[in-house]
């Protein structure tokens, strides 16, 4: 588990609402309001998208919405920066291939 429950300086992590969302159809749990990328990380997801030209995997890189490497398809909308988009119950999160949810050849 990579969640930090207790921190020497920040203390205990405040309790938050657990919600479910889907990642490529698979049901996962995360905390409401945390970035989608954090919930994915807690579930062991590293690759958020595959690039358009070279089909290479990308994941969290800057974590503050600048680099746009962590974009995914969220509720059918592509190019959503998952590192700054808060998780909501029932969200549909999909790997982005290029700009599509369909795997390319």
């Amino acid at each position: 588990m990579n969640r930090i429950e207790n921190h020497p300086i920040l203390g205990e992590t405040p309790s938050r609402n657990k919600v479910t969302f889907t990642y490529n159809g698979q049901v996962m749990e995360g905390y409401e309001g945390e970035p989608i990328s954090v919930a994915l990380k807690a579930n062991g997801v590293m690759a958020h998208r595959y690039t358009a030209k070279k089909h290479e995997p990308r994941g969290i890189f800057c974590a503050i919405g600048r680099c746009t490497d962590c974009v995914m398809i969220v509720n059918d909308k592509p190019n959503v920066r998952t590192c700054i988009t808060p998780l909501e119950a029932g969200m549909k999160v999909q790997t982005q291939y290029g700009v599509s949810a369909e795997k390319q050849d």
């Binding site: 969640r3 930090i4 020497p8 690759a47 994941g59 503050i64 680099c67």
Partner: protein, 525 residues
């Protein structure tokens, strides 16, 4: 099209922007601050270490606490902060376009302050796009804001203050830092930051760079290699580490695009692309100001002062205060800023090798090349003295602007003097009572209490300890040297926590007398 008018528009609710807005609001201006993030405070809320400086710079207070104080002050003076509001354009007539929700809104300010901060620099190497290669800022964001470990085994690239501080934070959040590498031949950040990472057992590889990040779908390993004078990797020097995360801390660049768009005169400097500003933060476009990292990379402490200077300047520009009032305030702030810009790490010394301290003592080359002061170097510093009874050993070996230890000691044992970059000296005429306030107040965690012969042949070392789980009295483990190597068995004899220590616990271990000047860290068995 509707345009809303404000006296003062601030872009960025970080330390500089908020400080400027507060300063202006105190003079009767009603500023509006836009920030693209969900939370205000910029990077302050990711800074969990104690800040340097002196009282006026909020020294020994942790960054996120300073952030909380700033927010409270902003609220007190009625500063309006609009979050999730991305400024997407700044036009020469001081028109600001802001994306809020699914709309672009237009504003016009009589004065506009750009305090957008900085962006992280990156380096590229084979595999640098793999998931698991992240910026140091990303690591901080994940662990300190979102309570998740960036990885389990991490390699850090970069020995500047960001690389050093984030390495320590990674250790605090329970990650293993397998190595810290930097292509430069010497540690770039504060020696005290390096020393606290070193003694935890993180090896430093100076003159090393990343050759390759390994893995197919995410990082599984990293290869580093030694660089020659031409910055190319010397064949045969490659070293492999199993890691799941590679963290890049290779500097920051000002995020000055808005100022450029507004038509401000820009300068391309070694420190990045910055607006040409006068000392109060006024750019070449009347009414447009810049403060904080966007006008040149420094620390949050200086960004806050720069922000306040711009706030006062804008108040005068808009006619809320007189020129005299502004000047007296700006002079006061300038003096504070000057103090922060002194010492070995002063902007004027950037990139230079300083070989002697202000006191004329040789700087530890081992510290610069390996990350810790060698055993045979430590005794030449004025904070390191020998006596039988309990006394502080201050392993502060570089001139940095910082003096909380002097104020912390009520007994007068620690002297820095008026010049806050001076190395602290221990005055053995004053009697140490072992209260440990100096240990907890040192932002660099460089102070230890040492006492000989607590029992025959054994003495005690008290050290700052900011990790979990907190050891308990009676625990047996190993003591580690400054270099992070095991030196001897140790028993925990005291564990002190106190509100006044602000999460810096004082851990006392018993070791043989001859190890009192060597043992500087403890790990449970």
């Amino acid at each position: 099209m509707k345009i809303e008018r404000y006296d003062m528009i601030v872009v960025g609710a970080g330390p500089a922007g908020l400080s400027a807005a507060i300063e202006a609001a105190k003079r009767g201006i009603k500023p509006i601050v836009f920030d693209e993030n969900q939370r205000p405070g910029g990077q302050l809320f990711k800074q969990i270490h104690k800040f340097f400086g002196s009282k006026e710079h909020k020294a020994k207070i942790r960054g996120f606490k300073i952030g909380e104080e700033l927010l409270a002050e902003a609220e007190q003076y009625g500063v309006k902060v609009v979050l999730n509001a991305t400024v997407i354009g700044l036009y020469p007539e001081k028109e600001v376009t802001v994306r809020i929700g699914d709309e672009v809104k237009h504003y016009k300010g009589d004065a506009v302050l750009v305090a957008t901060g900085a962006a992280e620099n990156m380096v590229n190497f084979k595999g640098w796009t793999l998931p698991g290669v992240i910026g140091a800022g990303a690591a901080q964001t994940m662990m300190n804001l979102h309570h998740i470990k960036p990885g389990n085994r991490v390699l850090m690239l970069g020995s500047g203050n960001v690389g050093l501080v984030v390495s320590f934070q990674l250790l605090q959040s329970g990650c293993e830092v397998v190595a810290l590498a930097d292509a430069a031949p010497r540690v770039g950040g504060y020696g005290v930051h390096a020393a606290k990472v070193s003694r935890c057992g993180v090896p430093f590889y100076l003159s090393h760079t990343i050759v390759e990040a390994e893995g197919t779908d995410h990082v599984t390993g990293v290869v580093i290699g030694q660089v020659g004078p031409d910055w190319k990797v010397i064949p045969g020097t490659e070293k492999h580490f199993d890691v799941d995360t590679i963290c890049l801390a290779v500097g920051l660049s000002p995020m000055s695009q808005l100022l450029k768009q507004a038509g401000c005169k820009m300068a391309d400097t070694k420190g990045g692309y910055v607006p040409v500003c006068d000392e109060d933060g006024a750019t070449s476009v009347p009414g447009v100001y810049a403060a904080g990292d966007v006008s040149g990379i420094e620390e949050a402490s200086s960004a806050m002062i720069e922000g306040r200077m711009s706030g006062a300047t804008i108040a005068e520009y808009l006619g809320y205060i007189t020129k005299e009032e502004k000047e007296s305030r700006v002079n006061e702030l300038e003096a504070q800023l000057d103090t922060l810009r002194q010492g070995m790490f002063a902007p004027k010394n950037r990139g230079k090798l300083v070989e002697k301290t202000e006191e004329g003592i040789d700087v530890s080359m081992n510290l610069l090349e390996k990350g810790y002061v060698a055993q045979d170097e430590i005794e030449r510093y004025p904070g390191v003295t020998k006596s039988k009874g309990i006394h502080p050993v201050i392993e502060c070996t570089q001139n940095i602007p910082c003096n909380p230890c002097q104020d912390a000691c009520k007994m007068g044992c620690i002297m820095i003097g008026k010049n806050i970059t001076s190395l602290p000296a221990v005055d053995s005429n004053h009697k140490c009572i072992g209260c440990g306030m100096c240990v907890a107040s040192c932002s660099g965690q460089a102070i230890f209490l040492v006492e000989e012969d607590v029992e025959p042949g054994y003495g005690e070392v008290t050290m700052p300890y900011e990790f979990l789980p907190l050891p308990e009295v009676g625990d047996k483990g190993m003591a580690y040297g400054r270099d992070g190597r095991e030196v001897c068995a140790a028993e925990v004899t005291k564990v002190r926590t106190s509100k006044a220590f602000d999460h810096t616990n004082l851990l006392t271990i018993k070791v043989p007398n001859e190890m009192l000047m060597t043992a500087r860290f403890y790990k449970a068995k």
